[in-house]
């Protein structure tokens, strides 16, 4: 054993001899007390939200009541428009009790707006750190009426990681739920939309009877052209600016509203997008043609698409 080891051994031995652990009953009492506070907060939140099923009153804790943070989570997710089933560009946390929580997103280099909310009691400190950049720190109060806190972060390079770390205070760790979403800034949406729009316009633009959609961020909804057509053959084009990939589908709708896939192809989303064009023969009996561009998970929320067609 070296002298350094000896020093640590002595530190441990002597300090342990002097540490007087609080009675374990103290810890059990803390659990009961905080649970009572949490339930009181839950009652307050329900009152604030005009809930009709209020059973708990402040000062009348119910030890076996369900954890109210599940309800807070529903409110928090709705506030920041997070799809809880597939939370791609964000997250929901209903138990911050581990002290710190961290989440990483792989994103295209751009400016992002992150919207955070915390429902319940206490406060959280959120630290957003773009790869290679300086962290941004914001304190978010956890309130009965959800508040939105927004913070803009610039992510350099082509691709990078945005790390979001949340540290709750002691109250929020037990009495709050937190949710956040990250979205491309409007300026970057416009920038990517112009890129994709220019590419599609270069193929179908200036042709009578053709059509191009406005640029759209690839997300849960699938923007599409739904157009009643009269010709026989068309060129359908899609382009996607950003990152990831998307599926481009051409669908014909019949008189009985049945849909037939006429063609489907993968489109790569890139900072320098390229057009993907398919030739479509309009089937007899069809009443409409639809062009759809749906994102894969890696393109969700960080790519902008445009689709268009022209008769040939």
């Amino acid at each position: 054993m070296t002298d350094i080891d000896q020093l640590f051994a002595e530190l441990r031995t002597r300090t342990i001899a002097e540490v007087r652990p609080p009675s374990v009953d103290t810890v059990h009492r803390i659990v009961r007390r905080r649970r009572a506070v949490r339930n009181a907060v839950a009652g307050t939140v329900l009152l604030a939200l005009g809930g009709t099923g209020l059973l708990l009153l402040p000062g009348e804790p119910e030890p076996d009541a369900p954890d109210p943070r599940a309800g807070y989570g529903t409110i928090a997710a709705a506030t920041v428009k997070l799809d809880v089933a597939t939370p791609r560009l964000g997250a929901l946390v209903t138990d911050l009790g581990d002290g710190t929580w961290q989440h990483r997103l792989e994103l295209i280099g751009a400016t992002y707006r992150t919207t955070l909310t915390c429902v319940g009691a206490g406060e959280i400190t959120a630290v957003l750190t773009p790869a290679g950049g300086d962290p941004s720190r914001v304190v978010v109060p956890c309130t009965a009426e959800p508040l939105e806190t927004m913070i803009d972060v610039v992510l350099g390079g082509d691709l990078g990681t945005l790390t979001t770390e949340v540290v709750p205070d002691d109250v929020a760790a037990e009495s709050a739920a937190f949710a956040y979403t990250t979205a491309l800034s409007t300026a970057d949406q416009d920038r990517l939309g112009k890129l994709a729009g220019g590419v599609v316009g270069g193929v179908v633009g200036g042709v009578v009877g053709g059509l191009t959609t406005p640029a759209f961020v690839l997300g849960d909804t699938t923007p599409a052209i739904e157009q009643r057509l009269t010709g026989a053959a068309y060129q359908a084009t899609a382009a996607c600016a950003g990152t990831g990939s998307a599926t481009f589908t051409v669908v014909a709708t019949g008189a009985d509203n049945t849909e037939t896939v006429l063609g489907q192809t993968r489109v790569t989303c890139s900072p320098a997008p390229k057009p993907m064009t398919v030739t479509v023969t309009y089937p007899a009996g069809a009443t409409a043609l639809a062009l759809r561009l749906a994102p894969e998970a890696d393109a969700y929320g960080q790519a902008v698409g445009v689709v268009g067609y022209r008769p040939t």
Partner: protein, 184 residues
Amino acid sequence: MAVTATASTGAEARIVVRREPPPSFDEVYAAHYADLAVQLYAYFGDRQEAQDIAQEAFYRALVRWGGIAEYDDPVAWIRKVAWNLAVSRWRRARTALSFLRRQRAAETHSDGPAPDRVALVAALGTLPESHRRAVVLHHLADMSVAEIAQREGVAAGTVKSWLHRGRTALAAHFDVHDSTGGTR
């Protein structure tokens, strides 16, 4: 987990394994509270702060004890929570320097610890945060280099470097011998 019986039928041998009953919260608390408080004391330089954090970590474990008791190493979970809390509180301090000054002053005037212990804790306080955390986790929490590397999200070589520099600085501070590098 304990092997309680073996049975053999022809060429096939089976080992019957039965889990030992999970430890009770009270047992774990009694066995590990003081040790955890020592680790945090060495990190913070403030015994009361260390005990507060240790108690908070055990409280969080108790709330979830039904699940945590089933872990292979419930104490590791509690230690992780405690260190997360410790690091968070440390970062909340306005500056490490002013914090250290405050802690050292408070400890110097306390009438409990012996001078050499105060000196070691004070010397730890002069180390960079990552070095100090690595030294304390290694020497007081008995964590291996690999475990610390995983916890900190860095390469094992980085942890070895932190430990080496930390120990070298402490050895110089006390003018004592450190020939091993002391890493497992």
